[in-house]
Amino acid sequence: MSLIATEALTKTYGGRVTALSDLTVDVEPGVIGLVGANGAGKSTFIKILLGLLAPTSGTARVFDIDPANEPDKVRNRVGYMPEHDCLPPDVSAAEFVTHLGRISGLPRSAARERASEALRHVGLYEERYRQIGGYSTGMKQRVKLAQALVHDPDLLLLDEPTNGLDPAGRDAMLALIHRIGTEFGISVVVCSHLLGEVERICDSLIAIEGGRLLRADRISAMTEVSDVLAVEVAEGVDELAGALGRLDMKVTRDGRLLLVELTADDAYDRILRAVADLDLPLHRLDLRRHRVAELFTPREMADV
């Protein structure tokens, strides 16, 4: 069963600003990255999935339920972590998360228990009785994540969870999200404008730009397409390119680098032999996987 399926989903604000246009995706459970620049329509997409906004046209289904018609059914099974600051400063994290657990329908004692558990899972066990106002940005992000987890959802919608974190904090947050997706058995949609960080933890990726779908696929499918060897020599770049071309290898020039498509197993040896035959000083020979980032490089650039 698909986790999220949309069909020609379109959202325009006031008939003029188009936030999403003709978006059709079908993703399976797992950790899903939702990537796009600021203003690409990521938050709008999430709000439609929560039933907070009604689509202008098209349909969205979460767990095969239409959030526009039955928002409560969807929201019961979804945890949402908003992008912006959403924590009152003058209560303790334990009390706040307990309260939100009760709003999600947990009985009082279960809410208290699960709030402690959720805070422990995000790494805030010791500090949970302190007032949130005194927390660092990293701790606040963890409280936001804990409140999304407290009612044991089947899907987490995280809007820019690494916002405002330092590099170490980012890594910790991403590791935590990865753990939730793999060990806890909860599907996660992670919104981010930083492709590099979500690509590490996601099973599949939805890339949108200006409200349009760029690509939606499994990460493995995106990166498996032919690997490339980068060859750097100090001189004689043209000669080497010619020599490799005669060996039926696809060579493209990228400044002082030669990018050679790795089609056969002995490509390393043949390149090394060609370099040795020409007696060129070899600086570098390394393997480059196709990065998901190439999705975002404009086509003209790739052609050069």
Partner: protein, 287 residues
């Protein structure tokens, strides 16, 4: 298996216990709101003001009960007591209403509420009932103290106690009207801004600005104008309804035959406030 050999699983546990319905969620917000109104579960600083006001109203109630017990005179009856405390009630709602709604707006908590199975009407309803309860307790508890004082010192035995109870019950109903009107107006004003100080100022201003209008109308020579003057100010409006409904209360505002007009205005005022609140939150809830 021996006790020592148990390995505790500290991994993530799914929750398969009961999930409660709408009523329980409403009660949770109501309880949270009522506690917040008196600063319970909050810092010591936020307890100061509500308890100061509550302390004063109780103190006045105790003094009135004592005066009646020892001197045998009744300076203020139950209904008059509620009117006399009006400014304290205004101060109380000016602080508590923003605490209930502006605070959630300011800190951005609302998206967390409304991304859960909760409607704007549920949220508002629970907050409104919480504030009504808080205001009612503010006046109702001292009234009960006055009743206890009178009941224990009555010289006519059980029938005296029954008489007192007959006076207390309508006064409690009158206090409820106070609570409903004040809660509705102050929540509406507070929902306009996330800044608590502005909200508090706005609430006091609404009650303050309307009082001179009442004063001007009252000073007109026309008897009809005088009898209708109470409609201009929320406080006098309530007094007017009190005069009409509870003759024995003796609120001191002449309403003549316009009593029902006062009642109708109370109902429409409360309904209008609640509808405006709902309209406001429809917008907020969709973020």
């Amino acid at each position: 298996m021996s006790e020592a050999s148990v390995i505790h699983d500290i991994g993530y546990q799914r929750y398969d216990g009961p999930r409660l319905g709408r009523g329980a969620v409403l009660r949770a917000i109501y309880g949270h709101g009522l506690r917040a109104a008196f600063g319970l579960g909050r810092s010591a600083k936020s307890k100061i003001f509500p308890w100061l006001v509550f302390g004063i109203t109780i103190l006045v109630g105790v003094i009135l009960a004592a005066v009646r017990a020892y001197a045998g005179v009744v300076p203020l009856n139950y209904v008059q007591y509620a009117d006399a405390m009006s400014w304290l009630v205004i101060l109380f709602v000016a602080v508590v209403a923003p605490e209930l709604v502006s605070r959630d707006m300011r800190s951005g908590v609302l998206p967390l509420y409304f991304s859960r199975p909760l409607r704007a009407a549920d949220y508002l309803g629970a907050k409104w009932v919480a504030l009504v309860t808080a205001v009612w307790l503010l006046l109702g508890v001292p009234q009960f103290i006055m009743f206890l004082g009178a009941a224990f010192t009555t010289k006519t035995g059980m029938s005296g106690v029954w008489n007192e109870l007959g006076d207390l019950a309508p006064a409690w109903a009158y206090t409820l009207i106070w609570a409903v009107v004040f809660a509705s107006i102050s929540l509406l004003v507070a929902s306009m801004t996330g800044k608590r100080a502005f909200a508090a100022g706005g609430i006091v201003a609404v009650f303050l600005v309307t009082t001179p209008i009442f004063g001007v109308l009252m000073s007109l020579p026309s008897r009809t104008a005088q009898e209708l003057s109470g409609l201009a100010s929320p406080m006098m409006l309530i007094s007017g309804v009190g005069t009409w409904l509870f003759k024995a209360g003796n609120t001191g505002l002449p309403v003549g035959r316009f009593g029902p007009v006062y009642a109708i205005e109370v109902v429409t005022l409360v309904a209008a406030c609640l509808l405006l609140l709902l309209a406001r939150y429809r917008k907020v809830a969709s973020l």
